[in-house]
Every structure is written in C-alpha cells, then in structure tokens.
Symmetry: C2
Subunit: 224 residues, 2 copies
DNA sequence: CCATAATTCAAACAACCGTTTGAAATGTCA
DNA sequence: TGACATTTCAAACGGTTGTTTGAATTATGG
C-alpha cells in the first residue's frame, strides 16, 4: 500500500526537510506563533519527527538558526570592494536592503535574524555575536573613515545606529509604511532608489557632523 | 432591556481595573502573548470578567487602545512651539524619544502603539489613521520647510522615514542595542543626548540634500 | 536472511488558551 | 422588604499547543 512513499535516498532526508520547512514557517510566523504541526505538514513528515530529530521545537529552531548563520557567512566581503568609504557605505546599505526587501522564500534565514531583533528568543545572543556584531564592526569602520578623527566611540556608535535604523525600518515597520504610503512599493525593485536615498542622506549627515566639529574647533582656536 | 446606565453612581470599578490591567499586560507581552487570566489576576477580578464587560479579549484590547488614543490626543501641539523648523524638528524628536525611552509603567499606551507597528493586529488601521498619520503629517510639514522647494512628495516621504526610523530604532531594536553597546543606557536620562544626535544628524542630512539639489540645478543651468 | 537498530506513525497526553455556563452574590428601585 | 436586574464566581468546555508513547515500518550489518 505505502509504496508511494516519498523517495528517501538516505535516512537524513527528513532531517533536511524539517530544517527547510522550519526556516519557512519560523520566518513567516516567528518562533512563538509557528507550530510544529505546521512545520511537519510543510515537511511531509509526522508530528513526532521534530522531537525525534531535534529534541523539540527549541532544538529545531536553534539548528535552523545555526544553518542560517553558516549560510550567511558566505557574505560578500565588502571590505575590499572599494577604497572610497562612501562607496563602501553604499555597498553596505545595498547589501542590507536587498535582504530586507527580499521576498520571504528567497532569504528565510535573514528574515529569521531580523525577527530575532524585535522578538528575541534565547538565540539572540548568538545572533548578535556571530551576525550582528561583525556587521556593526564593518559599518563602524566605514563611519570612522567618513567622520575622521575628533569623534568619540559613542558618537560613532550613534551615527552607525542612525544609518542601520533607516534600513531596518523598512523591515520592522513595513505594515505601517504600506498603510501610510500605499504608493511606495516595498519590493526588490526599490533597492536601488532606497539605497541611493539612505546613502545620500547618511553621507550628508556625516559630512555635516564633520563640518560642525571642524567649525567648533576653528572657533575654539580663534578664541585662544 | 437593560436598565439605564448609572449616571451618578460610582464608576464601574472592575471595568476600569480591567482597562488598567489590560494596558499593563498588553504593553508588557503584546496582544497574542498576553493572557486573559494574567489580566484578570492583575485586576483582582474573575476570569469571566473580561468577557462580561468587553465581550472578549479582542473587545478589551480595542477599548484599551481607544483609551490610549484618547489619552494621547492631549499631546503638546508642537506646531506653534517655534517658527524655526529646526527647533520644531528637535521638539518633535524629543517628544517622540521621551515616549520611546519611557519606562513601561509610565506610558503603557504608547508602548502598545509601538507594538502595533511591528506586531500588527486588526487595530493597526485605526492606530495609523488616528495616531501615526497625524504625526507623519506634522513631520512632513517640518521636512517640507527644511528641504525647501524642488523635492518630490516621494523624496520628502523618504526623508521623513529616515528621521523617524532613527527614533523608533531605540524601541524596536532595544534588545540588540543593549547587547551591542552595553555601555549605552537606554533610559530617560538619554533623551537629551539622543535628541541632540538625531536632530543634528537629520538636519545635516536635509541640508546636504538641499545643497546637492541646488548644486545640480546650478550645473544644469551652466550647461544650458 | 535474520536479528537488531533506526525511523515513522497514529494516537494520546498534559498543559494552556479564550470562552461559556449557571448559580450565587450584589445592587437597584417600586 | 421584595422582586428583579446586574455583577461576580468557580467550574467546566472545546480547542490548540508541544511532547510522549508504543507499536509498526524500514534500514543496517553479520
């Protein structure tokens, strides 16, 4: 009777299908709202499969996230893309925006990490350490070059936050933006225009910070 | 046929307690994760009280949100605070940041609306129409003044989004920021410094946009 | 080929959820 | 006070959740 069973070359097949289905469902609904029954239906396997192969919902989630981090580390280096920090910033913004505006099925693992930021689970510490921290360091280097000397670590941190916030906003506040500006489509076609805006906006802001700092130093020198 | 509503009697105590408890628990855990039992325990009332007084969890949530909007409309006008658009922007940013960085018990209703942005329920449309849209219009007016003519509606929208995103980021990504920069406390004491940074950053960016636009027009005129 | 281990499966379990129920308690007013 | 509406309450209901169970099925190695 059961000859129409799914073709399984080797026993690890269900495991992989669960990982894939987990990435899809977790990315779509988040850890809490995703149900193991939905995941198993998506994976064409039994409800008990998750517990058998991963020890539970937590275990599957951790494995999906770890797989995503492994897969994410094949990121473009972006450090050697150009010597001009302005171009490096544009490259950074574009790469980020592509993941933010990508449709769900194309980058489930990235969507998962974006979810971790606003709906944290126990896995957030690992996500920060292995994914966010490196990105923050890279952006920090670019900001440091663009601002030049005379700025504190704190000031550079705030500038970096101001830049990434503009990108993440299109992910985190998507429902609001769609209602507020229905004529602003948030799809892959907008990566170019939004990259240009955010890069120009941020470069102008950093130049402004630099000019103000230089100006105040000049006036201080004048006073002496 | 129900008896006429009591006009001079003591206000329905349990109803008010449920509203207060709902604001606390919904703000702390979000609509989905908040349980009716938790709310009723917080309100010292029976589990059935929510259904009796509000028809269900949905009804209570809607009432809490409506109460918040009513309470929110007692906002400072901010339009007549100054004729200088730069000062108006600073006022806007500060007012927003105060709510973002406020502790939970002080501004539960504001926290609720921030939650609606990233974890929308059916109530988001009302929140956008009655709370977010007016704020966006106010910011849009400030941006219009600061940018001057020669910019499209779309460009002004993106500039506005770039500004509010910097503020909202401290709410939505708080868990990440706390892990990334543990020495950056996100409490009411930081309203001042963060207001100054975001305002300066944004004003410089808008000035830069304006300068680029003016420059390109000059060069175009040169070409003719 | 067969014993043994690994894997799948339907079914059930315990805990929690929002909601309902019907009686008890409380309040209201002739 | 007495009759009636309103409100409270413990208990239970139906549904969903993650997880467990134990037998059936499949793969593996001697």
């Amino acid at each position: 009777m059961g000859r129409m069973r799914r073709a399984v070359d080797h026993p690890a097949a269900t495991r992989q299908q669960l990982l894939a289905a987990g990435a899809v469902v977790f990315a779509a609904r988040g850890y809490r709202e995703a149900t193991v029954r939905d995941i198993c239906r998506e994976a064409d396997s039994n409800v008990a499969a998750v517990n058998y192969h991963f020890g539970g919902k937590d275990g599957l989630y951790a494995e999906v996230l770890a797989e995503g981090q492994r897969q994410m580390h094949v990121l473009p280096p972006a450090k050697v893309v150009s010597a001009d920090p302005g171009e490096r910033l544009e490259f950074f913004v574009r790469g980020f925006l592509e993941r933010v505006l990508a449709g769900a099925p194309e980058s489930n693992h990235a969507q998962l990490m974006f979810r971790e930021m606003i709906e944290p689970t126990r896995a957030l510490d690992r996500v920060v350490a292995e994914f966010i921290r490196p990105a923050a360091d890279e952006l920090g280097g670019i900001v440091r070059e663009l601002l030049g000397p005379g700025f504190s670590e704190r000031e550079r941190q705030l500038a970096g936050l101001s830049i990434v916030s503009q990108i993440l906003n299109y992910k985190h506040c998507r429902p609001v933006i769609e209602r507020l500006f229905p004529d602003l489509p948030l799809d892959a076609a907008q990566v170019g225009p939004l990259t240009r805006h955010i890069t120009d906006f941020s470069l102008a802001a950093l130049r402004g910070m630099r000019a103000v700092r230089a100006g105040s130093r000049r006036s201080k020198a004048r006073k002496n």
